[in-house]
């Protein structure tokens, strides 16, 4: 087999694996669900056009040349999307390094490793770009429909962003390996991915709070002071914005830049990719973390179970990376709370839905880990405890963890507005309890390391959990502003949770 044939064969192999992985993720690993999954996906894509229209529809008529303020808003939005892509790419690259999978087979084959890993790098870039295209399509559709075919250029910008994000993610991850070693890279890379993903939005919100006392990031982007510091309208910094709006020259330059960046990363790092992957694989058998010596602790059987769950949650790297972003989003409301402490500003009301939403999402993740993500199910099932006492201990762990995280925020809120604090506390409890209940009803046996894939086991549970968190957050906010509307919203959300229970799998 010639080198070119071998490469194209390996590329096809990688694409087939990527397709099957994506397909399994969509169908939850059940081939019979393919049709339902495709219909669901199309419906979801169609549904996404509604919020896309609400968010971006009014910008469809924008024409070049633009003023500085518009360029800033568009560029910031593009940069935000790019940071999210970079965050996802860092996570994908880390996963590829640490998943041993077919590494032994590839490394023991007589093929040129640098070439094979170049293909693998390209596959990562393609995956990141495809995901970005999938999520950006409804927004671009809205712009094309409202403003004409010139907005189709935005697809090219998304491709350029995907290529550059993947290239930088690979470079960053390999450099992390070299600098801090495989033992710490996975953890640091996950933290980095979470910070990059949430960092830009949070930075804008923090700036808006400090300058204008509001959570709205657009306030800071459209402010005169930012426009004063921004480069001239013909600066290369605005290429992405201009390319999005149909400037073909800027678009070609961006695409070329993305390709050159990816090509350079392939040329420089494809050789090291193999070494890095070997290091990561070797870490699995050599890198061992030690715990402190301490005497055995007594207590009830449920206490033993709770202690185990707390220890595992504390030591779970996936949980940290997955929930760090949710916790980071609590920073701006906490800051707003601190800023508005004295003057009980109306902006303070915004804190409640953010807290309630975060509590629901976090409780869902924790509940999955404790209830479904049991790594030794046989041990727990053969222990002399009733199944109900096992479940009860696990639910207690979730609710205690939520209480520890959210009590300080609610307590601080109580000083500014006792009524709002009471509403927030109630909604946090209901939101966390609903998310936990949904995870309990739809529990499936899985390993904790499958946390990232928890959504694939039940689409209904995933949507129900998201809608329940959103619903309780909206109900709490409305209760503060318009109590009757809040009650109605609460009833609707409660009905939704009840319907979810009705559709949950029946158990003996």
């Amino acid at each position: 087999m010639s080198s070119a044939t071998a490469l194209s064969w390996f590329a096809r192999h990688e694409l087939r694996l990527a397709w099957r992985e994506w397909f399994a993720m969509m169908t939850g690993g059940r081939r019979k669900r393919a049709r339902a999954a495709m219909i669901g996906l199309l419906f979801f894509a169609a549904l996404l056009h509604v919020p896309a229209w609400a968010v971006i529809g009014r910008f469809a008529d924008l024409q070049l040349p633009l003023d500085k303020s518009s360029l800033i808003v568009i560029s910031a939005t593009i940069f935000l999307a790019w940071t999210l892509m970079l965050s996802q790419a860092i996570e994908s690259v880390t996963r590829v390094f640490y998943a041993r999978a077919d590494l032994d087979l590839i490394m023991s084959s007589p093929a040129t490793l640098a070439n094979l890993f170049s293909v693998r790098i390209a596959a990562i870039a393609l995956t990141v770009t495809m995901m970005a295209l999938l999520f950006s399509t409804p927004f671009i559709d809205v712009l094309v429909f409202g403003g004409g075919a010139r907005w189709l250029a935005a697809f090219g910008v998304v491709i350029a962003m995907g290529l550059s994000a993947a290239a930088i993610a690979i470079a960053v991850t390999i450099l992390l390996f070299r600098l801090i070693g495989p033992a710490r890279t996975r953890f640091v890379a996950q933290i980095l991915a979470a910070i990059i993903g949430a960092g830009f939005v949070i930075a804008l919100q923090v700036a808006a709070i400090m300058s204008y006392g509001t959570l709205s990031r657009f306030t800071i982007l459209t402010s005169g002071s930012v426009a004063d510091y921004a480069p001239d309208v013909d600066s290369f910094w605005w290429w992405p914005a201009r390319a999005t709006m149909g400037d073909s020259e800027a678009l070609l330059l961006l695409l070329a830049l993305g390709l050159v960046l990816l090509g350079s990363v392939m040329a420089i790092f494809s050789g090291r990719f193999a070494d890095t992957a070997i290091d990561a694989a070797a870490y699995g058998t050599s890198g061992r973390r030690r715990a402190k010596e301490r005497p055995f602790r007594g207590g009830s059987r449920q206490q033993a179970l709770r202690r185990k769950e707390f220890t595992l949650l504390w030591r779970d790297p996936w949980l940290i990376s997955q929930t760090l972003m949710q916790l980071l989003y609590l920073v701006p409301p906490a800051l707003l709370l601190w800023r508005s402490f004295a003057d009980s500003s109306a902006a303070l009301t915004l804190i409640t839905p953010v807290i309630v939403m975060a509590a629901g999402q976090l409780a869902g993740g924790l509940a999955w880990l404790t209830i479904s993500g049991e790594d030794a199910p046989d041990l727990v099932a053969t222990a002399p405890l009733t199944p109900s006492s096992v479940i009860r201990a696990k639910i207690e762990v979730v609710l205690i963890a939520i209480a520890v995280i959210f009590c300080p925020l609610v307590a601080a809120l109580a000083f500014a507005s006792p009524f709002q604090a009471a509403v927030s506390a109630g909604a946090v409890i209901i939101s966390a309890a609903s998310a936990t209940a949904i995870q309990l009803w739809f529990r499936v046996q899985a390993r904790r390391s499958q946390f990232r894939r928890r959504q694939t086991s039940s689409r209904l549970a995933t949507f129900a959990e998201a809608f329940s968190s959103i619903g309780w957050a909206a109900s709490a906010a409305l209760l503060l502003a318009l109590p009757i509307a809040g009650l109605i919203s609460g009833l609707i959300t409660a009905s939704l949770v009840a319907i979810t229970w009705k559709f949950s799998p029946k158990r003996e």
Binding site: F296, L305, L379, T382, A383
Partner: protein
Amino acid sequence: MKLDNSALEVLGLTKRFDRLAVDNLDLTIHAGEFYALVGPNGAGKTTTLRMVAGLLRPDTGAVSIFGIDALQNPVAAKQVMAWVSDEPMIYDKLTPLEYLEFVAGLWGIAPSVSEPVAQELLSSLGLEPHRHERCEGFSKGMRQKVALAGALVHDPRLIILDEPLTGLDAVSARHVKSLLSDRVRAGCTVIMTTHILEVAERMADRIGVIASGRLVAEGTLTELRQQNGRADTSLEDLFIALVTLQEAA
């Protein structure tokens, strides 16, 4: 159900998945006995033991452990037994000592009793140098030994093991076998499935041969030979003859 010195009494145990996995199985294992359950892949060995351990509910039948009805009173039955599966399921983020502390806690063993036992078990299984290391980097053999230590830390009267020697090196396998023999000498009952017939031949007091969900032969090695009229044959030859006969039927 009759109460005698039986550690385990199984009557008419049946389980059907898409096909019949266990077919009206009767089995009695005496207290203090080392019993080996052998059979070809898919014969129903693991399904039988999982039903005994309370991991799977039988369609019909009864399971009694030291006179306790395991289906009616599973918590009491589980208190006196331990289960070790072929795939060691332990927590990657816990150290062996933390794992044993957790298991002892689940069985309600006082720390003053369980801690020295745990230290001794880890030492006898060669895990002492690793007792404070998280299990995430352990080999399959080491993980299997941690799981076995977990099964022994609460001093069960009945130990059920499904292929416990899979993935163990010769030294580790020797450790495990001698640990199990010690337990039997101390009065514990051991039921073990294995594909390594030599182990069954050497260690077991009695051997049960299961095929197509049915117990096709049972007894000491001598009894099995007598039953089949092959005085000097090995267990392997006996096993192949019995299984072939069952498959033909």
